[in-house]
Symmetry: C2
Subunit: 140 residues, 2 copies
Amino acid sequence: MKKITIGEAARQSGVKVPTVRYYESIGLLAAPSRSEGNQRSFEPADISRLAFIRHARELGFEIDAIRTLLTLQDDPHQSCASADAIAKARLIEVEQRIRSLMALKAELETMVEGCGHGRVDQCRVIEVLADHGQCTHPHH
Amino acid sequence: MKKITIGEAARQSGVKVPTVRYYESIGLLAAPSRSEGNQRSFEPADISRLAFIRHARELGFEIDAIRTLLTLQDDPHQSCASADAIAKARLIEVEQRIRSLMALKAELETMVEGCGHGRVDQCRVIEVLADHGQCTHPHH
DNA sequence: CTTGCACCTCTAGTCGCTAGAGGATGTAGG
DNA sequence: CCTACATCCTCTAGCGACTAGAGGTGCAAG
């Protein structure tokens, strides 16, 4: 029975050590058993769980959504409708965010292109910021 | 001399009342004069400044960047090189964020499409989350 | 004169960590 | 066995940019 320290767990899962403790503190990860000297001793299953969490975080899922996804994973006989719904909701969020960022990109490009690199009173960056009416995409 | 209340200022600038007070507290907006009853009394210039801040925030600039942009605006004889640099940096950030969100979008689409709406143990959403190796775009 | 909204200050909470203090434990070399 | 050093422990506080709420005051209309 090999004991996995928190440092090992962090290295293998790609989650930082304080973050592992944080996940335990908010109940996302069950408190592992302890060594004689009170040090955490993880199981391989904990590493998988941490990797799952990390991956979901990278995909932008919120902690609460991950909590739900994890309880689904823990009970494989449930319907996956909730998991599907969470992923779909996240997809819609991402699509909206992309659209909104594209509008910002266009706005910023106009600003940067229009800047004659002279003095501030001719600067298009400052000018556009001061007057929203000059925006080409007014919907932000 | 009409006195503009904080509520009026908020309505006209599109910044919420507590946020106006917050901006004052962090020194982004000069503390306005007060009425006899200790209520804030804003000038039209404050409304413009608030609108500027709001617009910049909508474009995703951080408070510190806005602080710099505002000092530039306050002194129109300066070179606009800093403003240009700030806008360019923000543009690069936005472009990177868009690229990364596109990768996430592809990932989420694969997950959602692959979901057979059955039980969790056949669910592609859960499966992909558990195993990063299944990602089509491994670079996140 | 009273009702009720808008204003005031202050503190604490949000999210998802991250940093640091101050101390205990575990391990490798001498 | 001792020492040095990395790693671990708990705890509190901080980040950014607000937001919420408590508890109280000002002001204008009916």
